[in-house]
């Protein structure tokens, strides 16, 4: 199904099942331990051996020699895989550097060997017996030091690396009110609960990988390419994913090494990355330096807005695309953005939840707060003044829908924004200085082609199959809701099967495109199934309705199951997008409100209240959408207050590579969180009229927290995370 004209009324609009806060259908499996994860496929794989990954001990250089003899002789060891004995391996399209290194080392903890043994403990012990001598090379690890030498990034899915509209320099210089400030965000880790893990089994030249992956089709492609086998001989199965946040968009060492280990040991092998390896072996969100300049007239109209950003990555890597939102979110005739990319030899950077906008909004929305203060305007009023209903770079391109002003309005009323004093340090509650902060939320809505297969059987059950993944987001549930709505069934008559490359290729989970695109694919397949049912039952297509398990046409009412009386009916289709996303700018919007307390003596920071108001198209399931947003708000608090992969600039690695050192919020850090959704349906996004919401909830949170801290203390911190040591010396 080609989606190239705005959606009109369709069966989803009935909202009998879609739009309801239905419990996650996988929830019961998760909490009873019956959702099988990649490392625990005892049901599918008997007698697996265990692989233990050895990560490089240096950040840059090469392996001089490896002595495997002691490891091979260790009890239980079955095989030791290294680049030398693994055969020809290619680099996956989605990987920046090789997943099995040798002799050259690109970054710390890049995999250099896999030890396979009968038990996990034997594999780990064997790994300790591998002796490796390295020759250290010179690497670059310090973004600030590399900043001046960084060249312009290349073009990519993010568009051009630099943009310019009007005369930014002239307008900024002429602006009576100016802000020129630099902000930094640190490297961050995905730190999801389930590690990267895979179980591999070969049957002749056919490989099955039970793995934990967000994007099944990309994964098949890169496994096939890396191993040099035909894609049709690779099957990926990933029905449950214990969190990914972008860290599992790509095939990683666990999958490739499990496959190589299984080939060498001639039996199934399972591999999980250890927690320390996860931080330096896999991808992370790269650190950024961001310079923002805003010029405005005295009455608060932005006349010039510029956003430049520096990030680093391995050679052939990509920038952290922090300037994207600045091209779109606020009006202003003169604009520029630029992204520069330095070569660093840290682990490879890549997508983490809301890549680009998450760190970009952390900076931009402090800048907006600073500018509002310079202008003597309320920060919400300043944003309202500079709202735009069209793409400010091409004014003939409207937003498909944009209710940012409305989000602020509703949020301000709910949160009691009028009680905020614009004067920092004015509110106190015992030992706590209390402050309120606000920030816009903005994340683009991306759409991706997505396919599904639906099957009606004689019991009247509809089974949906698609390689879509559920990374804790609620995909199972919203897909079941979609099929139920389309086929006129209650949700318990729908079975959803996900995450298997034997199923039609879907949008996958990433970039907050999964919810809207994958359900639109199911919609397309269901339209086809409805046609097949109508044909089979010889009904008049024009006036047919599917409701309550029945198909009605004129005065005929037939149970849906009857259409499959002589055998299952199967329909497959996919949604494909035309140029609506080009003609209309599709984005999601929101407003974050935060109240913090800062201990007047110790500068300890505690978030006291949070509210997010989101305008993100039709909300397919308010319960799972709310879960996505509160999870994102929690992540935003982490980014604001504690998350930082600390770079050892001499040795070139992330030092705090475990969950004791890389702190993410715990329950005690997170207060009551409120979420409100505006009632929207966006006919430009898909037949579902939905948009993404899982990343929107993160964008802007960090700045709202930082702005609240400023309101509490009068100390403006521009370097994340905002930790107490950055406040303390400036608080009297």
């Amino acid at each position: 199904m080609k989606f190239d004209t705005p959606a009109t009324t369709n069966p989803i609009d009935q909202l009998k099942v879609v739009g309801h806060p239905i419990d996650r259908i996988d929830g019961r499996y998760k909490v009873t331990g019956t959702a099988p994860y990649a490392y625990e496929r005892h049901d599918a794989v008997g007698n697996p051996a265990y692989g233990f990954v050895i990560g490089a001990a240096i950040a840059k250089g090469r392996i001089a020699s490896m002595d495997l003899a002691a490891a091979k002789a260790a009890p239980g060891v079955l095989a030791v895989i290294t680049a030398e004995n693994a055969g020809q391996l290619a680099k996956g399209d989605m990987n920046t550097v090789k997943l099995l290194a040798g002799p050259d080392i690109d970054h710390y903890h890049q995999a250099v060997a896999l030890v396979v043994a009968e038990t996990f403990e034997q594999a780990r012990d064997g790994a300790e017996k591998v002796r490796i001598d390295y020759v250290r090379g010179q690497g670059r690890f310090d973004l600030a030091a590399a900043r001046d030498g960084a060249g312009m990034a290349g073009s990519g899915y993010w568009g051009p690396p630099a943009t310019s509209v009007g005369d930014f320099a002239g307008a900024f210089a002429a602006a009576p009110v100016q802000l020129d400030a630099t902000y930094t965000t640190p490297d961050q880790g995905h730190a999801m609960m389930e590690p990267h893990a895979s179980t591999a089994a070969w049957d002749g030249d056919k490989l099955t990988l039970w793995t934990s992956n967000q994007m099944i089709a990309w994964g098949v492609g890169d496994v096939a390419k890396t191993l040099g086998v035909a894609a049709e001989n690779v099957r990926l199965i990933s029905p449950f994913v214990g969190g990914g946040f972008g860290g599992k968009l790509f095939v990683r060492a666990d999958a490739i090494l499990a496959a190589l280990g299984a080939r060498a040991a001639k039996r199934p092998v399972k591999v999980a990355l250890t927690r320390p390896l996860m931080f330096n072996n896999t991808t992370h969100r790269p650190a950024t330096i961001q310079r923002i300049r805003i010029g405005a007239s005295r009455d608060g109209k932005i006349t010039a807005i510029g956003h430049e950003s520096w990030s680093g990555d391995q050679p052939d890597g990509q920038p952290e695309t922090t300037v994207g939102q600045t091209r779109l979110i606020y009006a202003g005739a003169n604009r520029m953005t630029a992204m520069r990319l330095a070569t660093l030899h840290l682990p490879e950077g890549n997508a983490m939840r809301a890549p680009g906008e998450a760190p970009g909004m952390m900076a931009l929305e402090i800048a907006m707060d600073e500018m509002a203060e310079k202008l003597g305007l309320d920060p919400i009023a300043f944003r309202d003044l500079n709202d735009t209903q069209v793409d400010p770079e091409s004014p003939d391109r409207p937003f498909s829908q944009r209710q940012l002003v409305e989000c602020f309005r509703l949020g301000a009323a709910r949160f009691g924004w009028d009680k905020r004093s614009p004067r920092p340090g004015a509110a106190r509650d015992g030992r706590w200085l209390v402050g309120l902060g606000v920030a816009a939320a903005f994340r683009n809505n991306l759409v991706m082609a997505s396919g599904a297969r639906v099957r009606l059987d004689r019991r009247g059950l509809v089974t949906v199959e698609t390689d879509m993944t559920d990374i804790g987001t609620g995909s199972y549930t919203i897909i079941a809701q979609t099929a139920a709505e389309m086929m006129g069934l209650p949700i318990d008559k729908v079975v959803v099967r996900l995450g298997d490359s034997a199923f039609p290729v879907s949008a996958g989970s990433g970039g907050q495109w999964g919810g809207n695109s994958s359900t639109a694919g199911v919609y397309a397949a269901c339209v086809r199934l409805r046609d097949t049912v109508v044909e089979r039952l010889r009904l008049n297509a024009a006036e047919v309705t599917f409701a309550d398990g029945q198909v009605r046409s004129g005065d005929r009412t037939v149970p849906l199951a009857e259409a499959a009386a002589d055998g299952d009916l199967v329909a497959e289709d996919k949604i494909e997008y035309g140029d609506l996303a080009k003609r209309y700018q599709q984005s999601t919007f929101g407003a974050h409100f935060v109240e913090v307390g800062v201990d007047a003596a110790t500068a300890e920071i505690r978030v006291r209240r949070m509210l997010a108001v989101c305008a993100a198209g039709r909300i397919l399931n308010p319960k799972s959408a709310r879960s996505q947003v509160i999870g994102a708000m929690t992540m935003g608090v982490g980014a604001a207050l504690m998350e930082e992969l600390v770079v050892d600039k001499r040795r070139g690695f992330f030092v705090n590579h475990d969950l004791a050192g890389y702190e993410v919020p715990v329950h005690a850090d997170i207060p009551h969180q409120e979420v409100a959704f505006l009632d929207e349906a966006d006919p430009m996004s898909s037949p579902m009229k939905a948009k993404g919401v899982g990343e929107l909830g993160l964008c802007g949170v960090g700045a709202a927290v930082a702005n609240a801290i400023y309101n509490a203390t009068g100390v403006r911190v521009r370097d994340y995370p905002v930790t107490l040591d950055k406040l303390l010396p400036l608080m009297s």
Partner: protein, 316 residues
Amino acid sequence: MRPFTYERAWTPAAAAVAAAGTPGAKFIAGGTNLLDLMKLQIETPLHLIDINGLALDKIEPTPEGGLQVGALVRNTDLAADARVRRDYPLLSRALLAGASGQLRNRATTAGNLLQRTRCPYFYDTNMPCNKRNPGSGCAALEGFSRPLAVIGGSGACIATNPSDMAVAMRALDAVVTTVGPAGESRTIAMADFHRLPGDTPHLESVLAPGELITGVTLPKPAGGTQIYHKVRDRASYAFALISVAAIVHKDGTGRVALGGVAPKPWRVEAAEADMPRGAKAVTSQLLAGAAPTSDNAFKLLLVERTLGAAMTEARG
């Protein structure tokens, strides 16, 4: 993890004899620190002596009006004991500020005293670390040192002792009791129990090989208002950036011990004479001679502010 042998000990004396007589032996109590370190190949004992069967899990009154806490009393039980909560609230609060409920259920009094540092380089066996691998160097000195010591460290090591419990015990003048392989018992004041690193950061306590901790004696209650303020980046389940254990009497006198600033719980009795003069005066003596790195110099001001807040709070 290196392969190891294992035995259970049934009397303290037998445990000490076994430990002294078996090369590479270590006691295991709750295992919450030792097992993690063994999995990472940081501790590599050849033999484990499980002491959980020793009857050292009681809290009993002493003739002097104090409490005798068995080495195997779990952190949860010690924190919840009605006498501890009434007479030694500082200890109860320090314990509850540490780790998580699950860990405290398992962690023991003796194990807590002997838990090892949380210096991140100590945890990475690819990195030089004099504490883990004597003579290999110290990666932290010119690396990431924000969490590390500002005083008491050496050119060989600036790791902190991470225990919260030990800080309270130091302020309470607790005494460690032990038994050695020859059956001899001795007492060691908390002040003397942990060593400063000097050139030998791998030696962390004054215990002799095979010496087993049998318990900790708390002297008679110190009274006063007792405050344990642990400052950290997140609200719970994190090690201290710094902590302040303060006992403040009505007349402004009292005691102070610090956590998170030194390789051992940090207390300077002479500084306490200045308590009536306020936090600044006390801190300048407590931390006299501090040698912070640029990463952790903020701890000095943080101590002063936190102590000041504790003293204000104590005055009501």
